[in-house]
């Protein structure tokens, strides 16, 4: 479904990704973990063509999207939904307009039907009745959930989540995790989640990729990763800032 081959990306003299390769099957859910500033968001943006790599390929169902122009990419992106780390809500529109954006652009669906779908999805992300609010009136966590609703409302085949539960309280985090699983299982959606939350990583991932020092450092099932003896992986999983603590 998604295949990345030898992806390289630098910003100026700063190399962010240096030869990333992996494959994600249809219907699979993959969690990407890694240090802050390690390039996880940058990697995610390459999968949907928002950024162009310096070299390498990104194949979506065998089709390389790297050489495509913006118009060709738009067709591919119909199959994608993406939740941004910053939520990236349109701040000139209400919550309802944000969430229903994709349908309204399509112009095939009557307004009442859109409103119904919007209300239902807002219920699912635990924000019922917020349709007429402006993004500026929402808390950070609420914005994130509106962004999530906007990304999954049109039932895309592939959903990319950039830190879906960061900044949410544990109870809402749990419900968002469950929602992501429900979306995945109901429609056989291919899911890529970037997260720092080890509990969600364990629950959401059928496979975990760890990005470290510009490469995929480790890959495996959650059990393999969580039982890994590798010091770099261990340090990340256990959340230890100073490796010497292991010695004492």
């Amino acid at each position: 479904m998604i295949e990345v081959r030898d992806l390289k990306k630098s910003f100026g003299s700063l190399t962010i990704l240096d030869g990333i390769s992996f494959r994600i099957e249809k219907g699979e859910s993959v969690v990407i973990i890694g240090r802050s500033g390690g390039g996880k968001s940058v990697l995610l943006k390459h999968l949907i063509g928002l950024l162009k790599p310096d070299s390498g390929q990104v194949l979506i169902e065998g089709q390389d999207i790297v050489p495509m122009n913006e118009r060709q990419l738009l067709k591919v992106r119909h199959r994608f939904g993406m939740l941004f780390q910053s939520a990236a809500l349109f701040d000139s529109m209400t919550v309802a307009k944000n969430v229903g954006f994709a349908f309204r652009r399509d112009r095939s669906m009557p307004e009442t039907e859109i409103a119904g779908k919007v209300a239902r999805i807002l219920e699912m992300v635990d924000l019922p009745g917020t349709e007429m609010k402006n993004p500026a009136e929402l808390s950070g966590g609420m914005r994130k959930r509106v962004g999530l609703a906007r990304a999954i409302i049109y039932q895309p085949e592939i959903v990319l989540y950039d830190e879906p539960t960061t900044g949410l309280d544990p109870i809402v985090s749990d419900s968002i995790d469950k929602l992501i699983l429900r979306v995945r299982d109901r429609l056989d959606v291919t899911t890529v989640v970037v997260t720092h939350d080890m509990r969600s990583a364990r629950r959401l991932g059928q496979r975990i990729l760890m990005l470290h020092e510009r490469k995929i450092y480790a890959a495996g099932t959650p059990d393999e990763i969580f039982q890994s003896k590798d010091p770099v992986v261990r340090q990340f999983i256990d959340g230890v800032s100073d490796p010497k603590e292991y010695l004492s």
């Binding site: 928002l50 992106r77 941004f84 990236a88």
Partner: protein, 259 residues
């Protein structure tokens, strides 16, 4: 040395190239894309209705000062009744479109650059793209069309107001003969003057929209980037209006007079 030549040559050339691509993309989008009427209507409202005070003040005071100054000079050679003709011709073909264009560049061009720039730095443009929407279709085309439609109308308004104000100043404050003035004005103002002015306004509208959108879409990071984009949008579109105005005067004048 390298950065010097970079700054002086490469950057403006790159900008020019990108604006050309943006214009081409917009035309392609216009030809295939079903116009989002609501957005277009809102932009027309924003550009047209909200610029009224600026355009009225600019038109009126330009016409007034032009009338007074022309009269002071012409009075010396006893050509008082030609005053209004001068006001009319210069308002129609030069001052109307240029001053309206500059005012709209300051108001609307800045607003476009700031809005699109903020959308860029807050990833809203990226979000738009993930929702399978081309920023040119959704953001650039409605603004471009709105300015193409509205700036000629605003210019016509400024011209009319300017001539009216010049007339009032000339006749009621300076005591020029109204009948002869009116007659001379109609006699010396040709249709081509009006056509030239409105054509210029149409082109200036495109300049303001494209430069504003370009500066916004390619805005630098952070609040500073947005601030810079806004300033540059105003400065560059003003300069582009002034420079292109000269070439338009030359070519349109030649073109229309040979017809």
């Amino acid at each position: 040395m390298k950065s010097w030549s970079n700054h002086l040559l490469a950057e403006p050339l790159e900008g020019l190239g990108r604006i050309t691509l943006l214009a081409r993309e917009s035309i392609a989008s216009l030809l295939t894309f079903k116009v989002a009427w609501r957005d277009l209507l809102y932009q027309i409202y924003f550009v047209g209705v909200k610029s009224q005070s600026v355009v009225l003040v600019t038109g009126a005071f330009t016409g007034m000062v032009l009338g007074a100054q022309t009269y002071f000079q012409f009075h010396k050679v006893k050509m008082d009744t030609a005053t209004l003709a001068v006001v009319s011709v210069s308002m129609c073909s030069e001052l109307g479109p240029v001053l309206t264009g500059l005012m709209v560049a300051g108001r609307v061009g800045a607003a476009i650059a700031a809005e699109l720039g903020t959308m860029r730095v807050t990833e809203q443009i990226d979000a738009l793209r993930t929702l399978a929407t081309h920023p040119v279709d959704y953001l650039v085309v409605p603004r471009l069309m709105a300015l193409h439609i509205t700036l000629p109308l605003l210019t016509a308004e400024a011209i009319a107001v300017g001539i009216g104000a010049g007339y009032l100043v000339g006749v009621y404050l300076l005591g020029i003969d109204p009948t002869y003035s009116w007659y001379n004005m109609l006699r010396y103002t040709a249709t081509t003057d009006v056509v030239v002015g409105i054509t210029k306004a149409f082109i200036f509208g495109g300049i303001v929209a494209l430069i504003g959108c370009y500066k916004g879409l390619y805005c630098g990071e952070g609040a500073q980037g947005v601030g810079r984009a806004t300033t540059e949008a105003v400065v560059y579109s003003s300069i582009a209006i002034l420079i292109s105005n000269f070439f338009l005067t030359m070519t349109l004048g030649k073109l229309l007079h040979t017809l």
